[in-house]
Symmetry: C2
Subunit: 284 residues, 2 copies
């Protein structure tokens, strides 16, 4: 097959930049904006991504649909794709590229393939594509041909086997470290503040763990802008760990601290100290 | 008061080196070996630390007793000190320098002070003392005079206020990061192995997280020799976080992974890959 038209679902920071990169690489990129926020409609319009109407229209016109969303919305989208299947004459491919547990990908894959649509399990590692940078889309499943056509055209595509769930597994274990450490460092700083030993901790870290303190400071400073959409991903990682007999506690804890960050008023915070004060003052 | 004789409880890697450093600094350092393992008896003898008999003898002969043990043994030792109090004519000082939650230190302090003994809450940050290096003993409580006499004599002593619990709080939040990150990285590697995507993870980390991979490798390689005695400390950290409304999940997870490491057969492991294989094969 040859992919000409790509349906893009999810036009946030990552999904929007991916849609733009694929368009620049010569694909016809379309989307559906039915029921979407004004911000999403503006983003699509800014990027020149055509709105084709409803999900049935998207399924009919696309050769390949890629979904880059927050995990909580992923199953609903997959179900709507499955419900609209048959709108296209030949089977299209649906690639779920969200940060979900392997078991979630397997369940989603069943719904999608039962409707006669090819399913690709995907997981994105790296930041949004730029002119000089392409994130890696790990993909697994029995039908990878359509996704492989995107490799080197705005994104990198890395196949990791024919079983649904393997690409999600790579994404889950990878994200467990980067985002988990940021959460742990935020938890440490908020606990220190609430225990009344924040200044003593910072001064000890400055003298014996300067590099870790610097990493903590940069990770924690970034949290207010990302914590909200990382909550669901932490829950998926916890469930992934538990599926192989490892404690989900780390990432249940991470989800909880991201909820706290998301609920805190950091508007006027100008330093790490201000941010930690704001987190510590938020209700849990 | 002037401290001449120090009773040292706990002659492991840290406690033993502290006893030696204090002895070299001119203090008379004694211990009790009643009921101790052959290894502890040998360690005391190698270090020239005099065994005075039972705990009552130790209390009678010491001006100051310092306890550096694994957290699980700390309350029992404090109770035995309290029971032996009165064996000395003037009140002595007992410094608990174990890694325990502030609430545990407060409970222990009550038992000890009720018996007429001064209580110091302590927490050690850093490695065992050497000729050119002195770890920091954070201390808090109303009676710090005896401990302050040790500052600069093999160890550093850092006072952080008159309330029992503050020194333990500093130790807990500090250790939450260093040991928590090591546990998280081990959990990531074991999960990847059990999910069958270990090679994919390592190759992704090599290309995009080389520094984190190196830190993970060095932290995880060290775990088999320390995991067993870090389990209790992780549980104390979990309870410390929970006491201020932060999830204990991170460190309950860390305790669980240290239990797995401690139960694994790493005898013939020669590389990070071998170690992770051994951890992943252990029963949870």
């Amino acid at each position: 097959m040859t992919v000409e038209t790509i349906g893009a679902l999810g036009l946030g920071d990552m999904g929007g930049a991916v849609a733009t990169a694929l368009k620049k690489s010569g694909f016809n990129v379309i989307t559906t904006l039915a029921g979407r926020s004004a911000a999403t409609v503006d983003s699509a319009s800014d990027r020149g991504i055509k709105d084709v109407g409803g999900i049935a229209d998207l399924v009919r016109e696309s050769d390949l649909i890629i979904s880059v969303l927050v995990p909580a919305n992923a199953p609903e989208v997959a179900a709507s794709i499955a419900a609209a299947a048959g709108a296209s004459d030949t089977p299209i491919t649906f690639a779920d590229c969200n940060a979900i547990a392997p078991a979630s990908a397997i369940a989603m894959g069943k719904v999608v393939t039962d409707s006669g649509t090819h399913f690709v399990d995907g997981g994105v590692i790296g930041g949004p594509p730029r002119d000089d940078y392409a994130p890696r889309f790990y993909v697994s499943g029995p039908d990878l041909d359509a996704m492989m056509e995107l490799d080197g055209r705005g994104i990198q595509v890395v196949p990791v086997g024919p079983e649904i769930g393997r690409a999600s597994a790579v994404k889950m274990v990878y994200a467990s470290q980067t985002k988990g450490i940021a959460a742990l460092q935020a938890a440490m700083l908020v606990s220190a503040r609430r225990l009344g030993v924040y200044d003593e901790l910072i001064s000890e870290l400055e003298s014996s763990q300067a590099a870790n303190l610097e990493r903590a400071s940069s990770a924690v400073t970034r949290l207010p802008s990302v914590a909200g959409r990382w909550i669901g991903e932490m829950e998926e990682i916890a469930s992934t760990f538990e599926s192989v007999g490892i404690s989900g506690g780390f990432h249940q804890g991470a989800a909880e601290i991201f909820r706290l960050v998301d609920a805190s008023d950091t508007e006027s915070a100008k330093s790490l100290d201000d941010l930690v004060k704001a987190f510590a003052a938020a209700a849990t």
